[in-house]
Amino acid sequence: MAKMSFENHIMKQFDEELEEIRTRLMEMGGKVEQQLQNAVTAVTDADSKLAEEVISGDQSIDNMEVDIDEACILIIARRQPAASDLRLVMMVTKAVNDLERIGDEAKKIANHAIILAEQSGSAEGYTEVRHMGASVTRMLANALDAFARFDVDAAMSTLEEDKQVDLEYKTALRELVTYMMEDPRSISRVINVLWVIRSLERIGDHAKNLCEQIVFVVKGKDIRHQK
């Protein structure tokens, strides 16, 4: 029985403020999702121009983080939210942090995309990047969808996907290490691919955090750090 509603306050202005931070979080989520997709594409298509766009686009995500945080602080100061309202505001401040970090990882991926595009060489590891990129992008999209609807079930199943991402990460790591041992000349290139994969794995963790926060908002249960 999920009973999430951020309306019907006696103070209508309060409804609007809560709606506002939710909407802005969704906007930020959309932007971060786009950055992530573009960064992965920039790597796999060796598209430096796209990578540059991702790098310059990170600034707007940082700005969004600051703005949304400010709005949250204002709500706390002005409204002293309680119960589900309080959980929502706390969740939003944490979620913008995770989204901003995802944005940073996307920027790192874009940086590596530029380096990789400049180096010629085999496309070793790109399959893994594409594969993990797709998994992580899907995970983030599902997490954001779950947040838009406060859907705990969707959040829980998305949360589970992180295990798959971690597994993919380990497999890719092992493969690329083997490859480097076979062909030491490829090491500097493959290390860049490794960084990309590492970033994707981190993004999976941040998406997982988002899911945990959704559960916290709806159920009031903190499910972090549980085995």
Partner: protein
């Protein structure tokens, strides 16, 4: 929330925006389709729920949460209170633990003050008021016919909404109770009780130079602390407070709240308050009343972060009241 309810908004939410947001890339390269990802806009959708105002109180059967305590000072069981034909309290059972601060919150007319007043039989003075059920302090029935009500009110003190010092000196205000209850054998004893009580009420430093001036000459916050000093002068076991800060400014309120925290070391306190923040700040457990029923009792930190009952949630988040 059933999956069917969410299926539709899910689809609507995940529909990608039609055109790519980043135009530059597709312009620069003559590729058939843009490979840059579009910004996906999701609309925050809250599942429709029954508005809290329409929740039917009649559906409510029993109190949720932790109403009872192993270390109870006062135990109330199946309390019903009537004013004439009108029932004000419906079947309320709750314990107040020793040295606990219990806050009672709820919308106006929910019965929290009525309930508080049953605890030292203040309702006896109200015409047509009838109290049913068991109210015990340390196992002793407070409504036993042979119980001395005057003595009871010394053991269960009360502080009211508006400071109401006697039109006497500060000293006399505090000394009055101990005198009529014969708690002091000598003038020295009495002086000591007055000083201690004023100290406990954090008022001593402010009034020690003018103990024999009228209590009504103090500021509102000081008067209220004087009333608290008066209540504790007779060494009560329980102190009832009925919105003790509603007539005070924020600084005076903060002082009273600070005091409540200190007093809970020696006394058991039940406080009715309209300020939810106050309940959150000072109390250990919070009881939520609604239309004469006790809806929820839980540790305060839980009530204000994740209340168990939807009515509690609606009230403390400011959706009705």
């Amino acid at each position: 929330m059933s999956p069917a309810d969410t299926a539709k908004p899910a689809k609507a939410a995940s529909k990608p925006a039609a055109k790519p947001a980043v135009k530059a890339a597709s312009k620069a390269k003559s590729k058939p389709k843009a490979k840059t990802a579009a910004i996906k806009t999701r609309k925050a959708v809250a599942p429709k729920i029954k508005a809290a105002q329409n929740l039917d109180i009649a559906d409510h059967q029993e109190t949720v949460g932790k109403s009872f305590s192993d270390n109870a000072k006062m135990t109330m069981r199946n309390i019903n209170v009537y004013y004439g034909d009108k029932q004000a309290i419906y079947d309320v059972s709750i314990d107040i633990a020793k040295n606990e601060v219990m806050a009672m919150i709820g919308p106006s007319g929910c019965g929290k003050s009525t309930f508080l007043r049953t605890l030292n039989r203040m309702n006896d003075t109200v015409e047509g008021c009838r109290v049913e059920g068991d109210i015990c302090m340390d196992g002793e029935n407070l409504y036993a016919p042979k119980l001395d009500v005057v003595e009871l009110r010394a053991r269960v003190g009360m502080v009211f909404q508006k400071p109401n010092p006697f039109p006497k000196s500060i000293y006399e205000n505090v000394a009055y109770g101990p005198k009529i209850h014969g708690l002091a054998d000598s003038r020295v004893d009495l002086d000591e009780i007055v000083e201690n009580s004023l100290r406990k009420a954090s008022l001593w430093e402010e009034v020690k130079e003018r103990l024999h001036q009228p209590g009504t000459g103090l500021s509102g916050g000081q008067q209220q602390r004087l009333c608290i000093a008066r209540a504790i002068a007779v060494s009560p076991e329980v102190i009832l407070m009925d919105e003790p800060c509603s007539a005070l400014d924020p600084i005076a309120t903060a002082k009273i709240e600070e005091l409540i925290e200190e007093l809970s070391e020696n006394f058991t306190i039940a406080i009715v308050t309209h300020s939810m923040q106050q309940a959150a700040r000072v109390s250990h457990r919070t009881a939520y009343f609604h239309l004469g029923k006790l809806i929820e009792v839980n540790p305060t930190e839980q009530v204000f972060t994740m209340p168990q009952h939807q009515l509690t949630e609606a009230y403390i988040t400011g959706r009705f009241g």
